[in-house]
Amino acid sequence: MQILLCIDDTDNIESAGTGELAESIAKTIEEKGWGKCYGITRHQLLIHEDIPYTSHNSSMCFKADIKSEYLRKIIEFSSNFLLKESATGSDPGLCVVVVDKLLDRQKLIDFGYKAKKCVLTKDEAYKLANDLNLHLSEHGGTGQGIIGALAGVGLRLTGNNGRFKGKHKINADHSILSVKELCSYPGIDIVKSLDGEIINASEMVLLSEKVKTVLLEDKSVLLVYKKNDNDGFWNNCTKQQLRSY
């Protein structure tokens, strides 16, 4: 079965980030033979003075194909892990959704988008989780992180939100690669321009920044742009260009 697992509000200014904890959970799932995990995405939520986030209010989500008999173990492990590893003063939340058992996909997506625009409450999150038959739990502090955890799953479900955690290691002795070469790396599905144009396999990309991908149309997309229309090659996008994803 396929699941989405999302965590939020696990850190403080001095601790490891939420992304690192998500990575540790994914690693354990694989090491224990419970399933196979896929890229972690970062989802930006509303920045508002009434929301008690640490510094950026984002949640971290990943997809996993698991054996159904391990679902309970994964939830138990993740819950205990958050209890043990979350930073002092944080308010961690965990959401786990079995994609095929989700009763109303659109309602969860709507919640995700709403969390980017409005201040939501724990009661709203718990009510929706109950209505939709998914796991939502808090593991310390005020438990406020359940809101972002639930929203993160909704945003991941859209297939069109968030940046993938980390950067891709490109083992090449030169910095200009063809789109075909780039797409041979795991975690790079397609190369697109900022305008949404799919770039042909034979076109060349000059890599001058860290190679990061974003989630678009359910794919891990490397975004590129042309510095100058006369250039023969594309450039991978800068941090500033990727900020809004």
Binding site: G17, I47, Y53, K165, G166, K167, T238, Q240
Partner: protein, 69 residues
């Protein structure tokens, strides 16, 4: 350089350049002893040493506040 911070209504030191004053965010960070680079996934400025990439910045509606006193 003029003072680029105001005290906001929560009593925190808030950058008055907004979220896209890349030049001043860089200049301030270059002179700041408290600067600490945030996690790679939270970096948004192309110049690594920038307040926008600092572990101690807390994003606000219009800008960020500096949590270092």
């Amino acid at each position: 350089m003029k003072d680029m911070f105001n005290i906001n209504k929560l009593g925190n030191k808030e950058f008055n350049g907004g979220k896209e004053d890349w030049v001043h965010a860089k200049l301030i960070a270059e002179k700041c002893d408290s600067f600490k680079l945030d996690d790679e996934d939270e970096l948004v400025a192309d110049d690594l040493r920038s307040c926008y990439n600092c572990r101690y910045r807390r994003w606000t509606d219009k800008s960020f506040s500096c949590t270092k006193k």
